[in-house]
């Protein structure tokens, strides 16, 4: 069976190759950045196993690595890469000669992900399924990318080494932005372990008039948006706001319908996700990927949709939950 751990090793090897290419180009701090980032992929299982067995030093070393990544990220600001005229001309020429054949490998990624997602769980070799049951979509995506790479190599007649070089170009262009989602998720864990959520819920429930159900609803909705913006993730905000306001005040005290409150409350949090740089993989990474001059350019385009939807969600909840 293809385990997600196998794909981690491929990611780790790719990161190491990127580090090596940067080292050869005499960009030592960029090389160090990618080399440290390769660690959780190459040694992640060993680190977690040691931690479970009570040996903390590998995880502590990784913690020092995270601090180093923060410092190295600040030392390697993003530089927009400008392609030389020859490369632009070569791209135009190859686009004209290869034509629509270029779409095949690009569309193979989503198409194969789809096929593997539905088909993978039914394909079993020797009693084990093809894909990791813990993360079916992501292992499907990983496998689809590797197959698509093989198709792309055939279409473009490029060498695998060239493909790694091009992947490195993309990775260097994204720089620290590529791993921001990972450190943000880490911060979420730290906040949870240090009781930040409890403190915010305590403040929220201390300041709202508990007998007014609309005031409670508004506090719940705004709390979902605000806390999602701080954490960058509605999943982190949901249990906190539910435990602080949703369950004790809205469901138990005012008899709100839990299914509707939960579903639309979560989606109200998503409006906050559209508004915050903390949701880096959705808001900051694409701004870098699309070479926008303003890192908040994508967020600016989302503000109107997010605020309108927030009002709609509060209205929907006000009408639907207290039936």
């Amino acid at each position: 069976m293809l385990k997600v751990e196998h794909l981690y090793l491929v990611v780790g090897a790719f990161l190491l190759a990127t580090a090596w290419m940067n080292l050869r180009a005499r960009r030592a701090s960029m090389a160090a950045f990618w080399a440290i980032l390769a660690l959780p992929f190459l040694a992640g299982d060993a680190i977690l196993a040691a931690l479970a067995a009570g040996r903390a030093w590998p995880a502590q070393a990784m913690g020092v690595g995270v601090l180093a990544l923060g410092v190295l990220a600040a030392r390697n600001p993003l530089r927009p890469s400008t392609d030389s005229i020859e490369i632009v001309a070569a791209r135009e020429h190859s686009a004209a000669t290869l034509g629509n054949r270029l779409f095949l490998p690009a569309l193979a990624i989503p198409a194969l992900t789809l096929v593997l997602y539905f088909g993978g769980r039914h394909v079993a070799i020797g009693g084990t399924t093809l894909l990791d049951a813990k993360a079916v979509t992501l292992t499907a995506l990983g496998l689809a990318s590797l197959v698509a790479l093989a198709i792309a190599l055939r279409t473009t007649r490029a060498t695998p080494l060239a493909a790694i070089g091009e992947g490195r170009r993309l990775l260097d262009a994204l720089g620290w932005a590529v791993m921001l989602p990972m450190v943000l998720a880490t911060l979420g864990s730290v906040f949870a372990a240090t009781g930040v959520g409890d403190a915010i819920a305590a403040i929220a429930s201390a300041v709202i008039p508990v007998d007014n159900r609309m005031a409670c609803l508004l506090a719940f909705a705004l709390g979902m948006v605000g806390f999602t913006m701080i954490m960058g993730n509605a999943f982190a905000a949901f249990p906190v706001m539910m435990a602080g306001i949703g369950l004790p005040l809205l469901v138990h005290r005012h008899g709100a319908d839990p299914a509707i409150l939960g579903a639309i409350g979560m989606l109200t949090g998503y409006c906050g996700t559209l508004l915050t740089p903390m949701a880096a993989n959705f808001n900051i990474v694409p701004a870098v990927l699309l070479e926008l001059p303003d890192p908040y350019g994508v967020i600016r385009k989302q503000v109107a949709t997010a605020l309108a939807l927030m009002v709609v969600n509060v209205g929907l909840m006000a009408v639907l939950v207290f039936r």
């Binding site: 997600v4 990611v11 790719f14 990161l15 680190i47 931690l51 990784m62 913690g63 995270v66 990544l69 791209r91 686009a95 779409f103 690009a106 989503p110 789809l114 992501l138 995506l141 990983g142 792309a152 473009t156 490029a158 790694i164 091009e166 992947g167 620290w176 932005a177 791993m179 921001l180 990972m182 450190v183 880490t186 911060l187 730290v190 906040f191 930040v196 409890d198 403190a199 915010i200 509605a234 949901f238 249990p239 539910m242 299914a259 509707i260 939960g262 579903a263 639309i264 989606l267 559209l274 808001n283 990927l289 699309l290 303003d294 350019g297 994508v298 385009k301 989302q302 949709t305 969600n313």
Partner: protein, 246 residues
């Protein structure tokens, strides 16, 4: 409650807000916030380091997306984005609003059946949707009824606007489609939370209540796409009148 609540860890939230407001490097801000929050809660340094390292490793699933980089990079080097632009530019009557609205609807429907990883900023927006949007925008700005004339070139600010909107459309489509899928994490998270608190709910009863918001999200964002296109056309017309007068 047994323990009185400590408010000191909130300092970490303050670091995040201040750091982003001062536009410091986001990775450094986030790492600093974690350290501040941990120290403020009274965690000893070795324990804090193990917490940071362990949590970092546990979240590595988020970077599995890197596996798409070599193939996307290779295809881009061989002109994928140029080809995408040329292909969409060939469709007469395809406007920016129509193209992105179709993508929005498609993204929502895919999310509703659980196929969230099929599209995304690396997989589809950068290599396909953004250049296609630029081509569709150029066509939208072409004089009406005159298909023989080549569409105008977009200015840089117009290009950036269109690209940012393409990414925003992907986000809106993803967020307000996936929640309708019963096996999606959010639905299971909601169900799990209630189950731990003694309220048993069927995942389907939660997922269905995400539908009204999904429909509103489509209507609101599609309207905004149409407004954006109209604004771009008017801005063009205004500059052309100015040029004709000057």
């Amino acid at each position: 409650m047994a323990d009185p609540i400590s408010y000191w860890p909130l300092l970490g939230v303050g670091v995040v807000v201040a750091g982003f407001a001062m536009r410091r490097n986001p990775v450094l801000v986030v790492v600093t916030a974690g350290v501040v929050s941990g120290l403020a809660s009274g965690k000893p340094v070795p324990e804090l380091l193990a917490l940071l390292g362990g949590a970092f490793v546990e979240n590595r699933l988020l970077l599995l997306l890197l596996l798409t980089f070599p193939v996307i990079g290779l295809l881009e080097r061989h002109g994928l984005r140029e080809r995408a632009r040329a292909w969409i530019g060939g469709f007469r009557g395809l406007t920016l609003a129509r193209f992105l609205t179709t993508y929005l609807g498609l993204r929502q429907l895919l999310g509703m059946v659980g196929l969230t990883q099929v599209a995304g900023h690396v997989q589809t927006v950068r290599p396909l949707v953004a250049p296609m949007s630029e081509a569709a925008a150029a066509r939208s700005l072409a004089p009406k009824g005159d298909d023989e004339v080549a569409p105008p070139q977009l200015r840089d600010d117009e290009k950036h606007d269109v690209r940012a909107m393409a990414a925003a459309t992907d986000n809106v489509g993803l967020f307000f489609g996936e929640d309708v899928f019963i096996a999606f994490g959010a639905v299971l998270l909601i169900q799990g939370f209630y189950a731990r608190n003694g309220i048993e709910l069927e995942p389907l009863s939660i997922a269905l209540w995400a539908l009204p918001t999904a429909i509103f999200a489509f209507a609101i964002h599609a309207t905004r796409l149409w407004l954006m296109q109209r604004r771009m056309r008017r801005a063009r017309a205004a500059t052309e009148v100015k040029r004709a007068e000057g």
